[in-house]
């Protein structure tokens, strides 16, 4: 085959191959695959909660208060006699949703700020980056506590607050990428044929930042789940009536529960740890799979 043929074949097949190779490379990352499967299990648990839970998560059973695990209540019951396994399952809905939505909000803001800042340059860049630095120096968890308890503790509020405080890292990352993509020849070519700033930044520059945004957004899901859990554990997150993993662990603030009823706080803690660990594995795997420079095996 001549060089010209090889180039022609390469060009024709490039998109499909690139697509295939990302999945192939991701699959070779065993921990990432493991994380992917674990997340799948948790996602199924959340979606099919009414089936997986078996029992009602809100039904109060006054004859069975603070019961140890038995055959009918596999993880025991809480102070109101509600089945803890059912609550754990329903909690995965809220905890996962908060993580996902908060990460989406943070990534959306971060990407827009980063692309605008990197492409516009000049005073716009300067202003946006100073604001980013300002938000970065804010003691985030302190503000989370203040905001969550002052603005009300609905699930939506918690999502918004975590998302609104978590975009800074992404803004800087995207801006850096935009600055380097901006200098590439195809962008100059687009400008030369008369494309406007909006078209160039949306059609030509934004797609180049997508892999980085995807990796960073994945890792943010883990961070957001941790933030929600921390807030709820302190009793300052989502209101108590809604089960979340953090809320379930709140009971362990009492030394008695901590010492004598580990089945109350251990399972939700493990669920949070497993989820965040899996998210981090998947994030690492995606980073390696999307970056053609890293060698796999």
């Amino acid at each position: 085959m001549s060089t010209a043929d090889a180039v022609a074949v390469g060009v024709a097949e490039a998109p499909r191959r690139a697509h295939m190779s990302i999945w192939w490379r991701f699959r070779r990352h065993r921990l990432a695959l493991f994380g992917f499967v674990v997340l799948g299990v948790f996602a199924f648990m959340a979606v099919a909660a009414p089936i997986v839970a078996v029992q009602d998560a809100f039904e109060v059973d006054l004859k069975n208060i603070k019961a140890a695990p038995t055959f009918s209540h596999v993880l025991g019951t809480d102070a109101a006699g509600r089945d803890l396994w059912a609550r754990l399952v329903y909690a995965s809905r809220v905890s996962l949703a908060v993580g996902l939505v908060a990460a989406l909000i943070a990534s959306a803001i971060g990407t827009v700020v980063g692309v605008v800042s990197g492409y516009a340059g000049g005073w716009v860049d300067n202003l946006l980056m100073r604001i980013t630095e300002l938000v970065m120096t804010l003691p985030t968890f302190f503000l989370l506590i203040v905001a969550a308890s002052l603005f009300g503790r609905s699930v939506i509020n918690i999502m918004l607050i975590i998302g609104l405080l978590g975009w800074t890292g992404k803004a800087r990352l995207v801006r850096g990428q935009v600055l380097s993509i901006k200098e590439l020849d195809y962008v100059t070519a687009a400008r030369a044929i008369g494309a406007g700033a909006r078209r160039i930044s949306i059609v030509h520059i934004f797609p180049g930042t997508v892999p980085y945004v995807v990796v960073s957004a994945t890792l943010t899901v883990g961070g957001a789940i941790l933030s929600e859990a921390g807030l709820s554990f302190l009793g300052l997150g989502v209101q108590f009536t809604t089960p979340t993993w953090g809320n379930l662990m709140n009971a362990a603030q009492s030394l008695y529960v901590l010492k004598h009823q580990p089945w109350v706080w251990l399972p939700p803690g493990l669920a949070i740890g497993m989820t965040v660990l899996s998210v981090n594995f998947v994030g690492d795997g995606l980073r390696d799979a999307l970056d053609p420079r890293t060698k796999i095996d």
């Binding site: 120096t137 003691p139 968890f141 203040v146 883990g222 662990m249 803690g269 740890g273």
Partner: protein, 325 residues
């Protein structure tokens, strides 16, 4: 050098102002105020709330209140706690030292151990040691700090009974000399400090490993090896110093979240610091205390950033600080 410092300090002032403005607006945008937290609705007399609000100055518009706060703050008056009637400054002064102590001890532990382990990992890349520590580091950043704290409390306090579960001193005991008092204090400090340290330690380890791997592949390290220097000298003098640079930056970036994470740990171990105070203040809607806390937390973070810049200059001789100033 001093020029540079002065310039950095001047830049920090608008940043500090911006932070106080943001917190102030934030607090005042929220529904409810300290009067709601003070008045018992059962004994509510019509108009009593408004009278109280007027006495506290809460009837004035937000920007006027902020300017009053700013004016008083500049003279060193941070106001009085709505809940306890005590000067905010003295409340925070009592809480600052325990928080600083917890922060500094855990930060130093995390930096020293994290860097050392990461460097050894890089030097033994792909060994079992490297692999298990990498997985361990992922666990470290994935397990929520408060869950780790619960596990530690369960094992070392509830089951083994090796450590006290709360406070920073055995308040029931009187100590004759400083040594047993110091030991008792350290005994209380170990658990919370380790819990705070773990997360940063794992992060440091990852960065130290990457940075060290990168540096070991660079030309000047190869040159040093080619010159026939011993591996030890190459690692300590040539490689390690350069690998340190990104660590300084990473540590600085992580400071706000470290200080945030300490809030949970202080609450769990009843460590009487600023974090514990902020949880109480939020519950009571104690605006003045919250403003004071926001201000001093920001001062802590900005001060640490300044310190990191200086460290950076020490670690990297290419940065001639006095030339920039």
């Amino acid at each position: 050098m001093s020029n540079y410092m002065i310039r950095r300090l001047l830049v920090a002032i608008p940043l500090l102002l911006a932070i106080t403005i943001m917190t102030f607006t934030f607090i005042n945008l929220a529904p409810g105020d300290p009067v709601d937290a003070l008045i018992d609705p059962e004994f509510f007399v019509a108009g009593a709330g408004d009278a109280l609000r007027a006495r506290m100055g809460l009837d004035k518009p937000v920007h006027v209140r902020y300017l009053i706060w700013l004016r008083e703050m500049l003279t060193g008056n941070f106001g009085y706690s709505y809940q306890f009637g005590v000067p905010v400054l003295s409340m925070i002064k009592d809480r600052m030292i325990p928080t600083l102590e917890l922060t500094v001890v855990s930060l130093v532990a995390a930096t020293v151990f994290g860097t050392a382990l990461g460097v050894v990992q890089a030097l033994r890349q792909y060994s079992i040691f490297d692999y298990s520590l990498s997985v361990g580091a992922l666990f470290g950043i994935s397990i929520p700090a408060f869950f780790f704290a619960l596990l530690v409390l369960y094992v070392f306090v509830a089951v083994l009974g090796w450590f006290p579960s709360y406070g920073m001193q055995n308040y029931a005991e009187r100590f004759d000399s400083w040594w047993p008092k110091f030991i008792d204090h350290a005994h209380h400090l170990i658990l919370p400090a380790s819990v705070v340290a773990v997360e940063s330690l794992a992060g440091n380890m990852r960065y130290a490993r990457t940075a060290m791997l990168e540096v070991m592949r660079s030309d000047y390290v190869r040159t040093a090896q080619a010159k026939g220097l011993s591996q030890w000298i190459v690692i300590t003098r040539h490689a390690f110093r350069n690998a340190l640079l990104p660590l300084v930056t990473v540590t600085t970036l992580r400071l706000p979240s470290l200080i945030g994470g300490i809030i949970i740990i202080e609450q769990m171990f009843a460590w009487p610091g600023m974090g514990q105070l902020s949880i109480t203040a939020v519950g009571n809607r104690d605006y003045t205390v919250l403003m004071g806390l926001a201000f001093f937390t920001a001062v802590l973070v900005l001060g640490a950033n300044l310190l990191a810049d200086l460290l950076y200059a020490v670690a990297d001789p290419r940065i001639r600080v006095d030339e920039q100033g």
